[in-house]
Symmetry: C2
Subunit: 375 residues, 2 copies
Amino acid sequence: MSFTFEILYKSTKSRARVGRIHTPHGVIDTPGFVPVGTNGCMKGLTAHQVADLGVQLMFCNTYHLMVQPGADVVAAAGGLHTFMQRTQPLITDSGGFQVFSLAYGGYTEELKSKGVKQQRNSVAKITEEGVMFRSYRDGSPLLLTPESSIAAQKKLGADIIVSFDELPPYHTDIRQLRKSLDRTHRWEKRSLEAHQADPKNQALYAVVHGGVQKDMRSLSAQYLGSMPFDGYGIGGSVGKDRAEMEEMLRHTVHQLPEDKPVHLLGIGDIPSIELAVPLGIDTFDSSHPTKCARHGLLFTSQGTLRIVRTAYAMTPGPIEVGCPCYTCTNYSVAYVHHLFKAHELTYYTLASIHNISFMMRLMATYRSAILHGLV
Amino acid sequence: MSFTFEILYKSTKSRARVGRIHTPHGVIDTPGFVPVGTNGCMKGLTAHQVADLGVQLMFCNTYHLMVQPGADVVAAAGGLHTFMQRTQPLITDSGGFQVFSLAYGGYTEELKSKGVKQQRNSVAKITEEGVMFRSYRDGSPLLLTPESSIAAQKKLGADIIVSFDELPPYHTDIRQLRKSLDRTHRWEKRSLEAHQADPKNQALYAVVHGGVQKDMRSLSAQYLGSMPFDGYGIGGSVGKDRAEMEEMLRHTVHQLPEDKPVHLLGIGDIPSIELAVPLGIDTFDSSHPTKCARHGLLFTSQGTLRIVRTAYAMTPGPIEVGCPCYTCTNYSVAYVHHLFKAHELTYYTLASIHNISFMMRLMATYRSAILHGLV
């Protein structure tokens, strides 16, 4: 089966919709959460544990995989699905975000820096051609261009791949942002052409940019929306707070083709999902739930449980009553607390299983709530 | 079912035997390997992964469990089996080894120190009563005596528990060793009495000491062998090399009751098992296979594979052809190599699964070889 997006139901009270993305490796129900397994592996989990969690789409990072083990190694192994033993859909990004965020130190750091650029030496040079950067492993120079990013993503062979874009710093003036946007559009057009020359039954998403400038977001949505991309990611900074994000997403999604899936790149905390589902976002990728798990923050419908708390040392029940995950059906809070305190590796496995399971159930609840007219 | 040891077959060419230890939580085939899960968890594995590996007996450390989460917490959870979700047999040690080896820095360090004691401040005081030491977590003082060790092991509730002994330093004079041996015997007798006062369907093993002094090993084997222990562990230093170990084990095992299981404490590397099975050792506990796994050393019947080697970056097959473990039936050497290089947590899981599986198959091979008259 090649890529199609089927909209099953549209909310009458918001832009939320329930859909199904069909891919060569199976179906993705939307709205859906997309856990991140940067290196072709969800931290602490086996492929079968991920599959058992009902993870329908998993996000891997092209940049990391290019550096280690290298796209050619993955291709020689028969592609990323075979290499990592995943039978269900995969999405890879272009590598652009990592290259630039390693240079700028990431949005959070960058916001804190208030415009004082921490230009690290990982990015050697940005030209019209692409970005020359240094491997974080051995310092060797690597050139990432729209064509080389798409070529790497063809070697990896994910069901969904992403156009190569430039990530502008948050603190940038409008002239610079516009220059960056125009270049991103040229790079995305080149990405599309490279993809179309050899589609390999993959779907290509564009990435809409424009920062927090409504006119530029409009321009980007309309420009990219007029081209035959299979879906649209929303990238770059969507604002310094949730109010700005809401305004920016509402403005942007509205101008994208309604029959294509919309993905919010790198944002997947629970309040952002709550805000973005009614705005028409179909999929969310984020390492937030697994990072939280590793730091001792466990999700429940009653709020976040901080497993380090001494109060949990003797709690006999599961993390969340009724949670069907492996962790909750087998282990007590007391045992999970003990493993955390004892720095046991198995803690990371059990905690990640629980948080991913929570996210899967949360998204199922959203789909059901939309169908019942609640969202 | 309470504890019994059934000898199925005795070799005619060595002291090796094939047996079955029956415990309240099931059968342990001997000769058998006993993986270590210090904190009530095998590092990186879930209880179900351990069970799937066919681990019949698992070793947990009383000292660590007393410090975190505390024996009372485990007791409140319904005992160690329930707490860690293990349905098969468990063995706990007395805590003595850890208290002393933390003080002396362990045998390997101690051998290297050539007698220059690294008396750390974790052991405050050794008296006839027991050992006063400080928690490695918070420095709080804890008193470990034969009675308190047995009481803690009663709270943990393992199928097999171990007498409280003193671990003499390797570099000690004969007078000191003899003093230590006599005290160990008094402590083990007190352990037996504490156990008999409340057996709780647990089996109690003695620990034979005497260092590398044959007369003291004889004395210890005969003294402890005359008392109604359910099995015998061989503890303390059995020598500075394999030749000395072989001589010492041959000498000691020979003087123990033939109808009781014999356990070699803390030794489970492959050459030592090869040496000790024909001498009549029935069970071996060691963290060696899981430690090796975490350090990138994977066991195969062709020798140890160093997964870090660049040569493995594109190896398509499993770690060992024909290995039935989860790792080998699902993943290539190339992927395991990649996870190791990428410092992925899942590497530890997959590598530990393989090495434990190897040990389980190795011991099954020994049992079969004994039955076929080869050992």
